[in-house]
Chain length 386, copies 2
């Protein structure tokens, strides 16, 4: 059942042992990817009888012994056909109705956001590897997810996040009993503090893509999407991009599904959405750069998009380019409008980051980047908080 072979650098391909805790590549400092022996793997049809949670893909996940799984009930998230939103966006853009807009509603995961996928995997692997002290810099939802999964595992979580992180995130970390440090700065500043202190304190750093298994959890978004659409991927995926692990994970996951013969060559065009107040990936994409520069004075109402620099920038940009996609920046006003449009048309609540994908859809349809006949999936990454 444990098909993982090793960890491999996503940049220089150097291999690393997966049987001990690892952060980034020892040679070049870039993210490590889990690699699997997929030859002995399961058939698509075997999934039908399994429980509807992300653990149904267990042969493609790193946790070997099921006793190490830390689960808060990671049910497959609904994929909702948004006909009324599609019609409204068509009208707003003076185009035909969009008949194939779908929402993947990640707000329905434990801890209230898509961050559950990555942290379920990271905390399960931390348990498997005997780690007891985990540290994380976070813009908010990852902190909530780590705090809660760690509590369920009896592991100590050390949280570093901006002092103006939403109250929901601060309070839920407190309720879970995490050790919380509020930073007068951004997630990048929080990341520096974790990096400086972790050796002396004995913390294992679970920053996204500086830890190899959060991305393995995130790739299950792609697995579910493929399975829910009958193994035929959509034309476009619109995804809100902070650290970018979602796009990187789905891109990796689709390659694994193709290696298994479960899907063909077709890939969705990835449209990465950022806020105009913090758009390093958009800038790098527009300028044709392979990596992104740190964004100065990052600001947006979407706290999860307030990520001035991502270690996986080159992977995000690669996935966007190879897929024929794009990167789009949306204004906070457009996000606010979309936070109304989605519930008013579809009855779905959304966080600002999820609303950003609706704003991006409007922009992409208006400028012809998406045609009204295409099948488009928007990721709603979290729920509404008052």
């Amino acid at each position: 059942m444990r098909n993982i072979k090793n960890l491999e650098c996503s940049k220089c391909a150097k291999t690393h042992l997966h049987t001990v805790p690892q952060n980034v590549c020892h040679a070049c400092g870039k993210p490590l990817f889990a690699r699997y022996s997929l030859t002995a793997a399961l058939k698509r049809e075997d999934l039908a009888s399994r429980a509807p949670t992300l653990w149904r893909y267990r042969e493609l996940l790193p946790v070997g012994d099921e006793a190490n799984i830390v689960s808060l009930g990671e049910t497959m998230t609904p994929l909702i056909h948004a006909k009324r939103l599609g019609a409204a966006v068509g009208t707003l853009c003076k185009r035909a109705s969009l008949a194939e807009v779908w929402i993947k509603d990640e707000s329905r995961l434990p801890t209230g956001s898509f961050k559950a996928r990555g942290l379920a995997m990271a905390v399960s692997m931390a348990k498997a590897l005997g780690l007891t002290q985990l540290a994380i810099p976070s813009a908010g939802n990852a902190a909530t997810a780590l705090s809660l999964y760690a509590a369920a595992a009896g592991i100590t979580a050390h949280i570093f996040m901006p002092k103006d992180t939403p109250a929901f995130n601060r309070e839920t970390c407190e309720l879970a009993g995490a050790n919380i440090t509020l930073i007068d700065g951004l997630i990048s500043d929080a990341g520096r503090i974790v990096a400086e202190r972790k050796a002396a304190e004995g913390w294992f750093d679970v920053s996204t893509l500086k830890e190899p298994y959060r991305v393995e959890g995130k790739k299950t978004m792609g697995f579910e999407l493929a399975e829910q659409f009958g193994w035929e991927l959509p034309d476009v995926i619109i995804y809100p991009t902070g650290g970018g692990t979602g796009i990187v994970g789905m891109w990796k996951g689709f390659a694994e599904l193709e290696a298994l013969g479960w899907i063909g060559e077709k890939r969705p065009r990835f449209i990465s959405v950022q806020a105009v107040g913090c758009a390093p990936i958009v800038k790098a994409w527009e300028e044709g750069m392979p990596e992104a520069e740190p964004w100065p004075d990052a600001h947006t109402i979407a706290s999860g998009l307030r990520v001035p620099q991502a270690i996986g920038d080159f992977l995000i940009l690669q996935a966007i380019r190879e897929s024929g996609g794009a990167a789009i920046a949306v204004t906070d006003d457009a996000i606010r409008e979309a936070m109304h449009l989605l519930p008013a048309t579809e009855g779905l609540l959304t966080c600002p980051e999820g609303a950003a994908t609706v704003a991006a859809l409007k922009q992409a349809v208006a400028n012809g980047m998406i045609s009204p006949s295409e099948r488009v999936v928007l990721f709603n990454t979290g729920g509404y908080q008052a």
Copy 2:
């Protein structure tokens, strides 16, 4: 596929047509129950190949034509084995660890609470019956659920709720585009206003148990529980009780499952939980009364439990008594403690109403009402709001 036969008064058994909109019994004013022809019904085994949503039980639900289903993705909610909570409660009560405590996490439904089940059904039936104006008095979560389902259906929602209803509920109703009236009073006052104005305004009243289909949605909690436990019901269900439709629905649902031969005679003991500041059912149960008196000066931090009078009081009390259960009042301080205990032990976030079931578990174990070896299910009816 449409197995519904008619509506029958839960008190006097008078039958009513289900093909036209109905509220309460024309003869005695009590709640109406949907009755089905269950002889032609499905086998348990048929469920396995169906999608994991509450619509898998469609032969036992009132919506005939699937085109009328208004769905926001009502995935089956996880049933989580709470071993660490069970151990903690055992220790706190100076008893053995409780090895069989389970949480049914209803916070994972659309709209953020268990109210989605009832309103999914009521709005689908409203659509089927051609209703376009729905009115509801609510303590909060039902308002959010109606507003969002109505928005998805293109139906107008008229919301009446206390002015101190949590911000999450007020804001989500606004986002969905509902017509909102804030009341200087409680849900019972809101209910009076709906009753007074509905005829002149042309609104259909979807107050719980004054509308026959919300309870049909709620009974799916019992169906899922039975299926998730392999058709063996637990020993005890602890349920937070405002309007009480959950207990009434599960009680009705279990009878239907037994009529189908899917379960035997065994029923869980229902433990109804209320707040000491609003405990009409507890008082009636303790005094051996068949109905409850209106509770004066209702107050509690659990807004969903601030329901001074329930039209289904006699049904709730009947289910508690026939099941050999009980009714328990818990303090707001005990609720606050439990809101920390559940995330700290199990990583699960909870609303005050869900936390009340944890407080009640402690009380029931401490006083010997529940033995540590019993299988107990707590219903977490909604998520945490900052």
